[in-house]
């Protein structure tokens, strides 16, 4: 167990690699109840959120979800999150644990008359069930990604969200906190392998999902990070002018995925001889190689370009690849 944003979380149960493989080959379960939840409700809820979040909320209807960013005045990323449109006037934001309090304060300070912002993090537990057999094992119907519906699993009422952080099909189940243990037992009873933070990190890295605090943060902008697709630059939101400028002029740095050509495990903070540094690095269990994400000068940020990473004083060669680093053959 390790402390994480005030929570005690398991790094692994049986081992990072077997847990990782379980999710790629079958089904794994993650207790991600540390994630924060913020509800925004009222006739002006959409107006408030449209002015603070980067993506265009008008594109989603009740029953749909959207990946979006909370940005600051400099166009930096305060948090990345998923917003669920519960109904026309009610939204649920699932945010990173480490940012939950700051996100809530940011929204609350900007609250409008007619947009009620509430921190409901303590009320909910969140269990992610991910993998090619996840839907089958839970006996759920197929549904498109980024949709959700009310459901019941093992007698526990929950919101069944078709979202995840692994690159596999699966669901994230939002239930009342006092029913979390029952839901967890039910999911494991259906054959899901319990997985810890370690596998969560290697899975998201192979899928090239960014980690706030590593790959993105208040001092990095979405355009450089490759998250321009989450920014509706034709609407007005915090920092949009700066983002329009970066889009127009082109970013100086770009976040790129890379794969090691030599045996070595890249780690966060390692310098790159061609410029920039590693923001996330680990060993890919599926490729059996070191992989990572790094900011490099935009002029060299193209797939196939070689990088030289300083692995504790040893220069080790890597190659920039297309996203994602790993995708399972269907």
């Amino acid at each position: 167990m390790v402390p994480f944003a005030g929570w005690e979380l398991p790094v692994q149960y049986e081992g990072v690699i077997p847990e990782h493989r379980a999710v790629r080959e079958d089904c794994g379960a993650f207790d991600v109840s540390h994630m924060g939840e913020i509800e925004v409700e009222g006739p002006r809820a959409i107006e408030l959120l449209q002015s603070l979040l980067s993506n265009d909320l008008e594109r989603i209807a009740p029953g749909q979800a959207q990946y979006t960013l909370l940005t600051n005045e400099r166009g930096g990323i305060l948090d990345d999150l998923i917003v669920y449109r519960l109904d026309l006037l009610r939204f649920l934001l699932v945010v990173n644990a480490a940012n939950a309090e700051a996100d809530y304060a940011w929204l609350k300070e900007r609250e409008l008359r007619g947009s009620d912002v509430r921190d409901v993090s303590g009320e909910y537990a969140l269990i992610a069930v991910q993998g090619p057999r996840a839907i089958d094992r839970l006996g759920l119907p197929d549904a498109p990604a980024f949709t959700f519906a009310e459901g019941e699993l093992g007698g526990v009422a929950c919101m069944v969200n078709r979202t995840g952080y692994t690159g596999e099909r699966g669901v994230e189940l939002l239930a009342m906190a006092d029913e979390a243990a029952a839901l967890w037992r039910h999911v494991l009873g259906r054959g899901a392998v319990p997985c810890g933070l370690g596998a969560r990190d290697t899975l998201r890295l192979e899928a090239c999902y960014l980690l706030h605090g590593n790959d993105i943060g208040p001092d990095t902008d979405p355009i450089s990070a490759g998250l321009g697709w989450t920014c509706e630059l034709s609407k007005e939101f915090t920092g949009v002018e700066e983002l329009r400028r970066i889009r127009k002029e082109g970013p100086a740095w770009r976040l790129v995925p890379f794969v090691m050509d030599e045996k070595a495990v890249p780690r966060q903070g390692m310098a790159i001889a061609e410029g920039g540094e590693v923001t996330s690095g680990s060993h890919s269990p599926m490729l059996d190689r070191g992989v990572g994400l790094a900011y490099v000068p935009a002029s060299i940020a193209t797939s196939g370009t070689g990088l030289t990473i300083d692995v504790r004083g040893r220069p080790r060669h890597a190659t920039i690849v297309d996203r994602p680093i790993y995708r399972r053959e269907e």
Binding site: V11, G15, V16, I17, G198, T202, S282, H283, D288, R314
Partner: protein, 133 residues
């Protein structure tokens, strides 16, 4: 899939408090990491060995082993010159998890000061040290 070895600390080995073992064979020794060390790290994914011919100094570092979670420096239990590197472990680092005292050895050295052996722990003393942690 890697099948982890069961916990053991063989009597015929000598141990360094940094969780390294040495098997003394005349004026040479084979070195590796203990069951406890591999279990703490988890499945190994990388072994950065020293060059053959490199000089190891007792208590100094001579290479690295790395799991998904963490990197750990290898501490030399004895001084000497590297005469062999276990290439099998370079290619398949998980061998250390499967057989830490056998196939998972790391280097063989020619001892430069065999008297250092007397400074190492026997299996019982090492097990006592682990129990105190």
């Amino acid at each position: 899939m890697t099948v982890a070895a069961a916990e053991s600390y063989p009597d015929d080995l000598r141990y360094h408090p940094e969780h390294d073992w040495a098997r003394i064979e005349g004026d040479e020794a084979t070195l590796g990491i203990t069951w406890y060390a591999q279990d703490s790290l988890g499945e190994l994914v990388h072994y950065e060995p020293p060059d053959e011919g490199a000089t190891l100094v007792k208590d100094g570092t001579y290479g690295e082993v790395e799991s998904v979670k963490a990197v750990s420096e290898l501490v030399a239990p004895l001084s000497g010159e590297v005469v062999a590197v276990n290439r099998k472990v370079v290619g398949e680092p998980e061998t250390v998890n499967e057989d830490p005292y056998g196939e998972g050895w790391l280097v063989r050295i020619r001892l430069s000061d065999p008297s250092e052996v007397g400074l190492l722990l026997d299996a019982e003393a090492y097990a006592t040290l682990l129990a105190e942690q």
